[in-house]
């Protein structure tokens, strides 16, 4: 029992954080918006070159063969940066699904290609237009389509970097796989990595607000010296501190694929989304009118938090998974880690 990340995991996460801090700056995000760009090719190339898209691909698919516990900090970094590109959806959620079915599939051969995923829990598919392939669900089975084989109807999100589409298609022909468990695994990864992004963006919102509160003065001193502002930010930080360990434990435990691991993933999704909501609203309040303006980045985070709250299952869905775990098995100190309680 050692609940820490390995040196390797921390190093990879640090690499991702630095890369995104350098390449997804406020100015770069705004340039994308001004130019109507769906993807920043230079940034994406660096992400690909660093191997981030290969983390969770098995080695026989040309990947690094790592696990959710290795990717979770990368997803946190993507949330922290409010990354526009679908690194998390593609490399963290969709690619492992395809690799589980067809590790030699040609789409997996190009580490720069992205894969979009249409899970029944999400009515819209993110970044479907720029994907090399879409993995679509029908009746438990998995179908693969190229974007030009389906009809994509844009459903514009409040989050200007989130490219959502309604996908119209026919589940004709042989499915890639008929195994519904694959979709259940995808849901676990989806909820987990949404939670990780939420944890990251919550911390970013607090960090931005802290920086502002140190310099902005009212009534003759920095607003961060006022107890009201301090306590707002401290309260948000407490939520983040007690969301992150849940996200991390959920990532480590995901492979269990049982009622315990699913409840922990759902727990992570609920509390990380709440932390993101509180932290981004707190950042807005601390910034005052400035935070309400387009020019300050707070709103990017606030919008992303709002979107991720319902992506891969909203609070009601995940609460029900928690309640299902409580109905299915006893609770208590000996059940903190699944199977840790002895059968004695």
């Amino acid at each position: 029992m050692d609940f820490r990340f390995t040196e390797d995991q921390l190093m990879m996460a640090e690499t991702a954080r630095k890369l995104l801090a350098d390449t997804a700056t406020s100015a770069q995000l705004r340039t994308m918006l001004a130019n109507g760009m769906a993807r920043d090719d230079a940034r994406w190339t660096k992400i690909v070159e660093t191997g981030l898209t290969l983390t969770m691909l098995p080695e026989d698919a040309g990947g690094l063969g790592l696990t959710e516990a290795d990717f979770v900090l990368i997803a946190e970094a993507a949330g922290y940066a409010a990354l526009p590109e679908p690194l998390v959806e593609s490399a963290g959620i969709a690619a492992p699904l395809l690799a589980a079915i067809a590790p030699a599939h040609e789409v997996l051969g190009d580490p720069a290609a992205t894969i979009a995923i249409g899970h029944a829990i999400n009515p819209y598919v993110a970044d479907a237009d720029t994907a090399a392939a879409l993995l679509l669900h029908h009746d438990g089975a998995t179908y693969l389509r190229r974007p030009d084989e389906v009809r994509l109807i844009r459903e514009e999100s409040l989050d200007p970097f989130r490219r959502l589409f309604k996908v119209e298609w026919e589940p004709s022909g042989e499915p890639l796989s008929a195994a519904p468990d694959l979709w259940s695994d995808a849901l676990d990864r989806g909820a987990l990595f949404m939670a990780a992004q939420c944890a990251g963006l919550a911390q970013r919102a607090i960090d931005i607000a802290v920086d502002y509160a140190k310099t902005r003065e009212q009534f003759g001193k920095p607003i961060g010296a006022y107890q009201a502002v301090k306590h707002l930010l401290a309260t948000a930080q407490v939520q983040v501190e007690f969301a992150k360990p849940v996200v991390h434990a959920a990532a480590i435990g995901l492979a269990q694929r049982d009622v315990f691991s699913r409840a922990r993933i759902s727990h992570a999704k609920i509390v990380a989304a709440e932390a993101a909501d509180l932290a981004t609203r707190t950042a807005l309040q601390v910034h005052g009118a400035m935070g309400y303006s387009w020019e300050v980045d707070v709103h990017f985070l606030l919008k992303r938090a709002l979107a991720l709250n319902t992506a891969w299952g909203g609070p009601g869905f995940h609460r029900e998974r928690v309640l299902a775990r409580l109905r299915a098995a006893p609770a208590g100190p000996e059940y903190g880690f699944a199977h840790a309680g002895m059968e004695a």
Binding site: E156, S157, L158, Q218, L284, G288, S293, W294, L302, L306
Partner: protein, 385 residues
């Protein structure tokens, strides 16, 4: 004591309802902060309201009103929101400046400024804040100096709502060298006056409703000062009480939103989440509580009472209930919550998302809720500063 309307109040309600039914724009107007077209469409609506005698029902008749009391104003507001009528583009003038002008303005000032305000001919922006003076208005730096019959204005204002398209603005200025609450004056200036530069500021929703204003030797007649030289802070505080306490946020606004929320919930039938049902009930109760508190306040005012620091409790309550109400709607919408109104699958009963984003500004504007809590603690409860 009995909480029933008089016959004349009921007749007035009926009249308002009938007029609104007959004159409502056939389709929702484009947002007044988004484009000049939207702004002018709302100005036209103000003109229509004025022609029917509905733009400022509680004002004296000589300025375009009906001389009605606050209860009748509440009834009008109820019918207005019930009808789903357009937002009031001249709210800064009608709700914030006008009550102050009624109290502190000269007869000549009232005659000059109130009628075109009532008709929408002149639409007003406010210009309180400055980059270094948001919550802390005593720190404003923009100056006013008198030269003969003229006032010369200089400075930098920000977060000036409506100023991108409006005609006039009112703001606080200080005599050079004065400090804190002293030496301030409340002055009006045309936004197209020489020396005024208006830079639009985009809000997080992409609309341009704010502006920053640069004033360089803007000359206006002394006539444009409300009250005496140096009385500005005092007058401004009076305005702030009205803004927070009563006129800015009519209870009907929230009752109407709560009714839509209830309908949204009921439309989900048996599939609705009872946990959200609790929040729906809460949102409705909040709107009702706010309505009751305002009816009680208006009854006290009609009987000669004044608005005191309890205005700050109103501001906190409506701003928080508004956020809660819209959050509940978004929760009911689930994954559709994030869709912009033009998205094919966006909710069409109401723009809940826009309402939510707007609600988030509530704890910030009109004096942040942190400042309001300070006021409640110090002036209502008597805690030390």
């Amino acid at each position: 004591m009995p909480l029933t309307y008089t016959t004349s109040q009921q007749t007035f309600r009926q009249e308002a309802r009938a007029w609104l039914a007959a004159h409502m724009p056939p389709a929702p107007l484009p947002h007044f902060d988004a484009t000049r077209d939207g702004f002018e469409a709302h100005r036209a609506w103000e003109r229509t309201l004025h022609a029917g005698g509905w733009s400022v029902v509680s004002w004296p008749k000589e300025y375009g009103g009906r001389g009605l009391d606050l209860i009748e104003w509440l009834i009008f507001e109820e019918e207005y929101y019930r009808a789903g009528a357009p937002g009031r583009v001249n709210q800064n003038g009608i709700c914030l400046l006008a009550p102050t002008m009624m109290e502190y303005g000269t007869a000549e000032q009232k005659a000059r400024f109130l009628p075109p305000m009532a008709s929408g001919e002149e639409i007003w922006a406010q210009a309180w804040s400055e980059p270094q003076a948001g919550s802390d208005l005593a720190h404003i730096r923009a100056t006013v100096t008198q030269e003969g019959d003229e006032l010369v204005l200089n400075g930098h204002k920000i977060w000036s709502s409506r100023a991108v398209f409006a005609d006039w603005a009112f703001g606080l200025f200080r005599t050079p060298g004065s400090e804190r609450h002293r030496g301030m004056s409340l002055v009006f200036f045309p936004l197209n006056a020489p020396g005024v530069t208006v830079n639009a500021i985009r809000k997080m929703d992409g609309h341009v409703g704010f502006a920053e204003l640069f004033l360089e030797n803007v000359r206006v007649p002394v006539f444009n000062r409300l009250g005496e030289d140096g009385q500005g802070w005092h007058i401004c505080m009076a305005t702030a009480g009205f803004e927070r306490g009563l006129l800015l946020r009519s209870p009907a606004r929230y009752q109407q939103a709560a009714a839509r929320l209830v309908a949204l919930y009921h439309a989900q039938g048996a599939a609705a989440d009872p946990v959200l049902g609790q929040e729906v009930a809460r949102a409705w109760m909040n709107a009702e509580a706010y309505m009751l508190a305002i009816y009680a306040m208006c009854s006290r005012l009609l009987a000669g009472g004044k608005i005191g620091p309890e205005a700050s409790t109103n501001k906190i309550f409506w701003s928080e209930l508004d956020i809660h109400l819209h959050r509940t709607a978004l929760a009911l919408l689930g994954p559709r919550a994030e869709l912009l109104p033009d998205a094919p699958e966006a909710a069409h009963d109401h723009d809940w998302l826009d309402g939510y984003v707007f609600s988030l500004a509530g704890p910030i504007y009109a004096g942040s809720n942190e400042i309001q809590r300070n006021i409640i603690a110090e002036r209502m409860l008597g805690l030390p500063r």
